[in-house]
């Protein structure tokens, strides 16, 4: 304000002229130099951008190369890997690498987790987006954020120390390590993911659709369930797929609470081993670093990577391709 006052009047105008002329004289840099600098900066930015591509290439290369090494071993065959449910990599004489034992464990955990996370997450998202008064939102949102920020190892502790005793109290058939407890913990862990992604999708539905439905005499339930949720369906499905991918790749909870016995079972009271759990077992154990079991870790990781990559890819494609555009 004051500087503007100074610059009015004759002396002020002289000052301004002075400033402009110094700017014009001194601050000018050769254009070629400026252009060169722009180019160098752009090249640097591009390098950083390409780095993320390089990461993907490196993941694919490492997993593929080590998996090939794994299948070169005499004791490993394709038919055994893809056709057996007996995963027994450590016992000397009778090694067996049937990936389905680990996949079934992963799927059992994932199904239990999703049975909790998907309905609860979606209903909470509908509540937050359509029903909740502002006061409740202001409490519930931070709580979900805190739940999302808790490290997974803490959920593992919770599963082992709290959920398992409760389950054992309810039913005596649960063993110390069991699929149900790990699955419930993974479900809790995925709940905030489902909720926030689904809520984003619900919020993206334009107000006019809701107003139209209300104008026709709908209750909130009608508006939410028959108008908003169908309109946001692509976003919700994509949220579900991303949550499933997260549950499949979850590591520390299952390593702590699910046990370490690879078996194909659908009994949630039994202990199971997931693909991620096996990798942790290999990393913590004293296995020789360069034998079949070492490379089996990469083969399992490759399987896991293909599964989660497919889920995230489909999730992202669903969200982009099937989004209902309203504007």
């Amino acid at each position: 304000m004051s500087s503007a006052d100074e610059l009015t009047g004759a002396s002020g105008k002289a000052q301004l002229d002075e400033r402009v002329s110094t700017l014009l004289r001194g601050e000018r840099r050769p254009l070629a130099l400026v252009r060169a600098r722009e180019l160098v900066i752009y090249a640097l930015l591009l390098l950083c951008g390409l780095f993320s591509l390089l990461v993907t290439v490196a993941i694919v290369y490492v997993l593929a190369a080590e998996t090939v090494t794994f299948f070169r071993f005499d004791e490993v065959t394709f038919s055994n890997f893809f056709g057996s449910t007996n995963w027994n990599p450590l016992l000397g004489g009778q090694k067996s690498f049937g990936i389905w034992a680990l996949i079934s464990g992963t799927m059992l955990i994932t199904v239990i987790a999703m049975a909790i996370a998907l309905p609860l997450g979606l209903i909470t998202a509908v509540y937050l987006s359509e029903y909740a008064p502002k006061r409740v939102r202001n409490v519930l949102k931070p709580i979900l954020e805190v739940l999302a920020g808790v490290p997974t190892v803490v959920y593992g502790f919770f599963a082992l120390m709290t959920i398992t005793p409760v389950l054992q109290w309810l039913h005596s058939g649960f063993s110390v390590y069991n699929a149900a407890s790990a699955g419930i913990a993974v479900g809790i862990l995925c709940l905030p993911t489902v909720c926030s992604l689904a809520e984003d999708a619900l919020q993206a539905v334009p107000r006019a659709l809701r107003d139209g439905a209300y104008g026709l005499g709908s209750t909130r339930f009608d508006v939410s369930v028959k108008v908003v949720v169908p309109a946001a369906l692509s976003g919700i499905i994509s949220a579900f797929l991303l949550a499933i991918a997260r549950a499949v790749g979850e590591t520390m909870v299952v390593a702590l609470a699910a046990g370490s016995l690879p078996q194909a079972t659908i009994d949630p009271r039994e202990q199971v081993q997931t693909m991620t759990g096996y990798m942790v077992q290999m990393a913590t154990g004293d296995v020789s670093n360069y034998g079949t079991e070492y490379y089996s870790m990469y083969a399992v990781a490759a399987t896991l990577f293909v599964m989660t990559m497919a889920l995230t890819l489909i999730g992202n494609i669903v969200r982009r391709r099937f989004r209902e555009a309203y504007e």
Partner: protein, 425 residues
């Protein structure tokens, strides 16, 4: 729009008077129509609302149960011992200090590496629009790739780090085992010695060139260093000769004495391949949180109104001047918030570090970038997976500490978001 079969047009129209109130009782036949159309729907609405509130209460309950069970078990064990001691076999004296320092080192380096690359990628994607069809294609690929990288399980990054950083694809020769130091590796900041005796301060050290050099045989007249690094002339006796009784005994040894190879690493010690050290862990964590940082920075940049850029461009600023002087400062609060949240994710990340570092006994803070390390969640994992009850309580106390750190990080992020955030449009 209302899809219940009983909501005929007349029914929908007749809900109006009932809502208005008192004279509804006067018209008998219409009442029944209303009941069919309005009541069940409203009842369903009420029930659904109750279900919603119940579900929301459930997530609150989970948080209370989670924190409650940890606090009950951990608070009695939350003592200063926890922060001052290393991981001892006795749970009463065990602490988490080396792990705290490990977390500090790893996350600091990880943040320093991730922030520039992440923000630069976000700037590229948001501020430098592609001009050609190939450029647009490339941008699309990079964008899709980043969203997919965010979905890769962190344990897979751990395996990538194990191959790419710890052993560097075996480019420097593959070690037969971790303990095998006889492999070719490129090193700076390290000195090797052959040490004779180690009885307190009585030591004779003979410098050697490399880890794979042959063991030194004691010969008369060789130069050596003592415990303090001073040059000394050790006396070499042939086997069977009597030892002197005066003070020269300190530096006297038999010709058939056997040495042990020791290493002395400076604070700037660096080696390739990186091995299971701090730097390998930090680089791996960088891969894990890079997509998170990129995506949140992109959102922050996108929130800057286009008019600001247009104004700066109109004044003759170059693209980079616009970014550096206008867009980046305005987007800074958002970028910082996202980065802090990404860092808190890095602090809690366990699986990739577990693959990189393994479960090893670490009793001191890392001394250099290649030093063995452990991080807080890994130490907690170690304690939780032990059978003894005392270690579980100790883990609960450690979790309180970890959650405290994470919550303070989140609080800082919220503060930044509130203090620095100014509406720009």
């Amino acid at each position: 729009m209302a899809n219940t079969p009983d909501s005929s047009p007349s029914g929908a129209a007749e809900t109006q008077p009932r809502a208005l109130g008192s004279n509804a009782t006067a018209r008998g036949p219409l009442e029944s129509v209303e009941l069919l159309s309005g009541q069940p729907r409203r009842r369903r609405d009420r029930r659904f609302r109750l279900l919603c509130i119940g579900t929301a209460a459930f997530s609150v309950l989970i948080l209370v149960g989670l924190l409650g069970s940890i606090l009950i078990q951990g608070l009695p064990h939350l003592t200063w011992t926890l922060t001052t001691n290393g991981p001892e076999p006795d749970p009463q004296r065990a602490g988490i200090r080396p792990a705290v320092f490990g977390t500090l080192w790893v996350c600091l380096i990880c943040g320093l590496l991730t922030l520039p690359i992440g923000v630069a990628t976000a700037i590229l994607l948001e501020e430098y629009q592609p001009k050609s069809r190939i450029g647009r294609f490339l941008y699309g690929i990079i964008q899709l790739n980043i969203t997919n990288l965010a979905g890769v399980p962190s344990v897979v990054y751990g395996l990538l780090g194990l191959t790419a950083f710890v052993s560097m694809f075996g480019l420097f020769g593959t070690a037969a085992s971790d303990q095998d130091t006889q492999t070719s590796r490129y090193e700076i900041g390290v000195r090797y010695f052959d040490q004779f005796f180690s009885e307190g301060e009585r030591a004779i050290l003979i410098p050697v060139d490399s880890a794979s050099a042959p063991m030194t045989q004691p010969v008369a007249g060789m130069t050596a260093l003592n415990f303090y690094g001073e040059e000394i002339q050790p006396t070499v006796l042939s086997p069977g000769q009597p030892l002197p009784t005066d003070e020269t005994l300190q530096y006297t040894l038999y010709a058939d004495a056997e040495a042990g190879r020791i290493t002395q690493q400076a604070w700037y010690y660096f080696s390739l391949p990186l091995g299971r050290g701090v730097l390998a862990g930090a680089l791996t964590l960088m891969l894990v949180i890079l997509p998170v940082v990129i995506i949140s920075s992109q959102e922050a940049l996108r929130a800057v109104p286009g008019s600001l850029r247009a104004g700066a461009l109109g004044l003759g600023a170059t693209q980079w001047q616009v970014v550096w002087n206008v867009t980046l400062p305005s987007a800074m609060p958002g970028i910082l918030t996202g980065s802090i949240l990404a860092m808190s994710r890095a602090i809690g990340e366990t699986a990739p570090i577990l693959i990189i570092a393994g479960i090893v006994y670490i009793s001191r803070a890392p001394q250099h970038l290649m030093d063995d390390f452990t991080v807080m969640p890994l130490q907690l994992f170690n304690w939780i997976s032990r059978p003894q009850e005392d270690f579980h309580s100790l883990a609960a106390a450690g979790i309180i500490l970890l959650l405290g750190i994470l919550l303070s990080f989140n609080a800082v992020a919220v503060l930044i978001r509130q203090k620095l955030h100014k509406p720009l449009s």
